[in-house]
C-alpha cells in the first residue's frame, strides 16, 4: 500500500483558550477524494492551513508524501496546491497574467506546469475573459481562475476550501469532472463544502469536523444511496447543543452533569 499523500496524527491547535483543533487524525491516500464537512468555525480553514504549511500545529505530527514535515519546505509545496476560500488573485492582473506569474515561479524552481489557457478553458472560463483584469470578474469566474492555478501545477495533493462556492451549476459540473480526472491521475484531494449532495456524488469518504474534533466519517462502499444516508446521518448527528461551560461542574458540584450556559 502506498504512503498517504498527507497524514495528520494527533494534531492540535489552540489560540489562548480557543481550541481550534483537538487531536486530529486524518489520512489522504493517493487517488481518493475526501470531503470535509463542518459548521462555520469548526476549524476547517485551520486544518487546510496546517496541511498547506501556512500554520505550524501546536502538537502532533504532520506527514507529507511519506516524510515527516515539521516545516513544509519548497519541495513539498511544489507537490501540493491549495485553493483557499478567498480567491487569492491579483486584481490588477488578468487571468492569464495571474496564472503566468505562478507558472513562471514554478519554472524558476525547476518545476513543470500545464499551459494556463488549457486549464482555464477546461474550467469553462470564456476565452475573451482571459485578458481582462481579475478585478472585473464575478466571484465565480475568479474562483475558476484560482482553481486553474492550482490544477496547472498537476499537484499530488489538492486542498480545496469550499471550491463550489459561487460556482453555477455548470461550473460545479465542470469542477466535479476535473476532480474526477485528478482522482484518476492519482492525486489526493481534500475538499470542504456545505453542499452534502455534491460531496456524496464526488467523494470516497466524508469526514465531519466539529468543534475541532475529527472522529466521525462515512465511507463510500459502492452503494451511493447508502453512502448518502450515512453522510446525512453524519451531518444530522453532529452536536446541536451549545458548547458546555467547562467551569460548570466546578461551580455547581451538586449538579455537575447539567449542561451549563455556552462558554
Amino acid at each position: 500500500m502506498s504512503e498517504p499523500a498527507a497524514a495528520l496524527h494527533g494534531v492540535a491547535q489552540r489560540f489562548g483558550r480557543k481550541v481550534v483543533l483537538r487531536d486530529v487524525d486524518l489520512e489522504l491516500a493517493p487517488g481518493t477524494i475526501v470531503g470535509l464537512i463542518g459548521a462555520n468555525g469548526a476549524g476547517k480553514t485551520t486544518l487546510f492551513a496546517i496541511l498547506a504549511g501556512l500554520l505550524q500545529p501546536d502538537a502532533g505530527e504532520r506527514r507529507l508524501f511519506g516524510r515527516a514535515a515539521d516545516e513544509v519546505d519548497a519541495d513539498a509545496r511544489a507537490r501540493l496546491a491549495y485553493v483557499a476560500h478567498q480567491t487569492q488573485l491579483y486584481g490588477g492582473l488578468s487571468a492569464r497574467e495571474n496564472l503566468a506569474l505562478f507558472a513562471d515561479l514554478r519554472r524558476a524552481a525547476g518545476l513543470t506546469t500545464r499551459p494556463a489557457d488549457e486549464v482555464l478553458l477546461q474550467l469553462g472560463l470564456p476565452a475573451e475573459a482571459l485578458a481582462r483584469p481579475v478585478s472585473t470578474f464575478s466571484r465565480g469566474m475568479a474562483q475558476r481562475v484560482a482553481l486553474a492555478r492550482a490544477l496547472a501545477a498537476s499537484p499530488e495533493l489538492l486542498l480545496l476550501d469550499e471550491p463550489f462556492t459561487a460556482l453555477d451549476a455548470g461550473g460545479r459540473a465542470q469542477l466535479a469532472s476535473v476532480l474526477e480526472g485528478e482522482r484518476r491521475r492519482g492525486a489526493a484531494v481534500l475538499l470542504s463544502s456545505h453542499d452534502l449532495d455534491a460531496l456524496v456524488e464526488l467523494c470516497d469518504r466524508i469526514v465531519l469536523l466539529e468543534r475541532g474534533v475529527l472522529d466521525r466519517s462515512a465511507a463510500h462502499d459502492g452503494d451511493r444511496a447508502a453512502f448518502r444516508r450515512r453522510a446525512a446521518a453524519l451531518w444530522q448527528g453532529r452536536p446541536q447543543d451549545p458548547p458546555r461551560d467547562p467551569l460548570h461542574p466546578l461551580l455547581h458540584p451538586q449538579d455537575p452533569a447539567a449542561p451549563g450556559p455556552a462558554a
Partner: protein, 239 residues
C-alpha cells in the same frame, strides 16, 4: 483519575518559586539604606551640587532598562525559534520592567540635565537612543496587548530589533559628539561615592528582578489556566 474539584497535595518547596519575593524583601531595607546614604551620608558633588544625587538612581535604571531590553530580545529569539510559551512570558515581563525602568531614566535624566547643563533635553545621541529604546519597548507592549492573534511572532521580531538598538546606544558615545559624561563616569567616581553607588544599584537590581520574577510567574499561571481550561473543556465536551 484526578478530580479537579479535589484539593491537591501541596507542592514540594522550591527556592525559585519564592525567589522573586525574596528579592523584593531584600530590596526594601537596601533601598531605605541607599536613600539614606545618598541624601544624608554622601556630600554634594563639587560642580553639579545636589542634582548629582540623581546619578545614583538614574544610572542603575539606565543599565536595567538596557539589560531588560536585551533579556526581552533574547527571550523573543527563543520564543520564535522554539515556539516556547515560557520564553514569550519572559519576554513580556522583561519588556514591562524595561518600560518602568526606562520611564525612570527619562524622568530623572532631564531633572539632572536641567540642573547640570541648564536644559532638560540636549538631544544628544545617548539621550535620544535611550528614548527610542523605550519607545520600542512601548511598541512591543502595544503589539502584544492589541495585536492580532498571530502578532506574537511579530512582537518577538520587534523585541529582537529593539535589542539590537542597545549596542547602538553604547556606540553612540563614540561616534557622535555628546554632552553626556563619557562612559568612564562610574570609574571616575571618588571612593566615598562608590560606597553609595553600589547599595543603590543593588537595591534597584533586586527590585527589578523581583518584579520581573513576579510578572513571569503571573504570566505562566495565566498560561496554565488556559491549559487547564482546555482540559476541562475537553472533558466536558466528551461527557
Amino acid at each position: 483519575m484526578n478530580d479537579p474539584t479535589s484539593i491537591r497535595p501541596p507542592r514540594p518547596f522550591r527556592l525559585r518559586a519564592v525567589l522573586p519575593d525574596l528579592c523584593l524583601l531584600a530590596a526594601m531595607p537596601l533601598l531605605v539604606y541607599s536613600v539614606h546614604r545618598v541624601f544624608i551620608d554622601t556630600p554634594n558633588e563639587q560642580t553639579m551640587g545636589t542634582a548629582f544625587k540623581i546619578f545614583f538612581f538614574h544610572v542603575p535604571m539606565g543599565w536595567l532598562c538596557m539589560l531588560m531590553a536585551l533579556v526581552a530580545g533574547v527571550a523573543a529569539g527563543v520564543q520564535l525559534r522554539r515556539r516556547s510559551r515560557l520564553a514569550g512570558c519572559v519576554a513580556l515581563a522583561a519588556a514591562e520592567v524595561g518600560f518602568v525602568t526606562g520611564l525612570g531614566v527619562l524622568l530623572t535624566g532631564p531633572i539632572w540635565g536641567r540642573a547640570t547643563w541648564g536644559t532638560p533635553w540636549t538631544g544628544d545621541a545617548r539621550q535620544v537612543t535611550t528614548a527610542l529604546l523605550w519607545l520600542v519597548i512601548v511598541a512591543y507592549l502595544l503589539l502584544r496587548h492589541y495585536g492580532p492573534r498571530t502578532s506574537d511572532r511579530l512582537a518577538a521580531a520587534l523585541a529582537i530589533f529593539g535589542a539590537v538598538n542597545v549596542p547602538i546606544i553604547y556606540y553612540a558615545v563614540k561616534l557622535w559628539k555628546t554632552l553626556h559624561p563619557s562612559t568612564g563616569v562610574v570609574g571616575s567616581l571618588p571612593p566615598e561615592m562608590w560606597a553609595t553607588f553600589w547599595p543603590g544599584l543593588g537595591a534597584l537590581i533586586l527590585c527589578s528582578l523581583g518584579l520581573f520574577g513576579l510578572r513571569v510567574r503571573q504570566l505562566v499561571i495565566a498560561e496554565e489556566l488556559d491549559a487547564a481550561w482546555v482540559q476541562l473543556d475537553e472533558r466536558s465536551q466528551s461527557t
